[in-house]
Symmetry: C2
Subunit: 275 residues, 2 copies
Amino acid sequence: MTIHLPTLSDSAVPLVAPVTVVDERGREKEIFIPGERPLTVYVDKQELVTLMTLGGAPEALVLGYLKNQRFVQALDEVVSIQVDWEVSAASVVTRNGIKALKERQEKRTVTTGCGQGTIFGDILTDLESIALNPGARLDQPTLVAVVDRVRQHHSVYKQAGSVHGCALFRGAEMLMFIEDVGRHNAVDAIAGRMWLEGLLGDDLIFYTTGRLTSEMVIKGAQMGIPFLLSRSGVTQMGLDMARRVNLSLFGRCSGEHFLIYSGIDRFIPSEQQAV
Amino acid sequence: MTIHLPTLSDSAVPLVAPVTVVDERGREKEIFIPGERPLTVYVDKQELVTLMTLGGAPEALVLGYLKNQRFVQALDEVVSIQVDWEVSAASVVTRNGIKALKERQEKRTVTTGCGQGTIFGDILTDLESIALNPGARLDQPTLVAVVDRVRQHHSVYKQAGSVHGCALFRGAEMLMFIEDVGRHNAVDAIAGRMWLEGLLGDDLIFYTTGRLTSEMVIKGAQMGIPFLLSRSGVTQMGLDMARRVNLSLFGRCSGEHFLIYSGIDRFIPSEQQAV
């Protein structure tokens, strides 16, 4: 079977900018702040949405956004994605047009992982149909290694703060790391890249600096990933949804510490810890 | 002039829930996590949007959302807002119907303070028309007192984490404090309550635990507030927009520390600090 991969531009931009600020003692300092750019997505010349993004992986972001919002179901529906920062536009060409685009836009859920994100249509009700790999396991040394690997990673966050990072791991191996102003953009970009690389979530581990809210759990489940790790916490609805699909949620991950919120049967503790 | 205030229900719900988690040593713990509930907004029986919210101030949230998204321009356009958690719905009745509701929905900006928030229509381009009070000043002791007041406040965040808080101050006096799963919801709820109480932003101070991104700056400016304070940082576009309307941004506020990103002419430093 031949899969037609979309043709993509490669339009990453500088992610941080220097600014001069004044501190509480009146001292001028030069610091870095993260970029934030509007990127208007046109699908077959029809304006769809404007995303505010850091701009590090715009093509993967657009692809992952279209996938996670279910505007496209198969990769070969997308002929090309061309990002042009001169006009702040991503031009998407599809093979057959996007069916019922307008109708899908009508029913909209404004979710609030942290902002007011959008999920279209019937995603919430479709959660039940997702079957995560029942055999996937995560052992404690791998979990700690993942958290440590993220900590060591050179990131925009370390340089400028004010962004969220998401990373994808197979065991303790980091497969990708993407930051964005919004963590939903970061997870969409990871989804886009997974799709392009033909990666299944099956036995992968997803790490995010952001909270595990309903929307993050939905996206993780949609990507087929059984393990979500966060430096931060979990909301009630995020937990409810994770339990429904037996997704393992690990929150407050820091150093050797973590809390298991759900899916503990997928976790293999280190032996010495059995008290 | 008689202003007809909308009739509102009073449907706050429990904001946190206990859950049992397991830590890295296999110990069970009971902790609290914040609630997250869908609230579908119907305007004159027409479904508009579903907001995911903590649920602490749902009526103010809906009103502020309608205002900040510019679905309503005047308070007396809204006859009533009734929130019924049994059906996860907020029913809004307007006096004359919301004109061109569907058209306003068509052009949509998915912003990413942290999630993918939505701003409708031409809000971005309207920023220029906003004139903030040129006489407003903030002195250093007041700024430090504001940060300290927030630190002392009893909050869902302290109990359960994973929420964003927003607060409104006149001088060092806290006028309101609202938390939500998403900081955009928290700021919308503050906007709604300000509107109900007839408060102008004029000389007020807005504090948020979240980052000052473009969307937060736009909302602050729309509320007429000249001072935005954050425990966190500032994005490039947030800073650009603040400069355009001479809004004062203070980031990294913690204890006595802060950084001034813009609008320094509105700031009165303490004398002893002139080095």
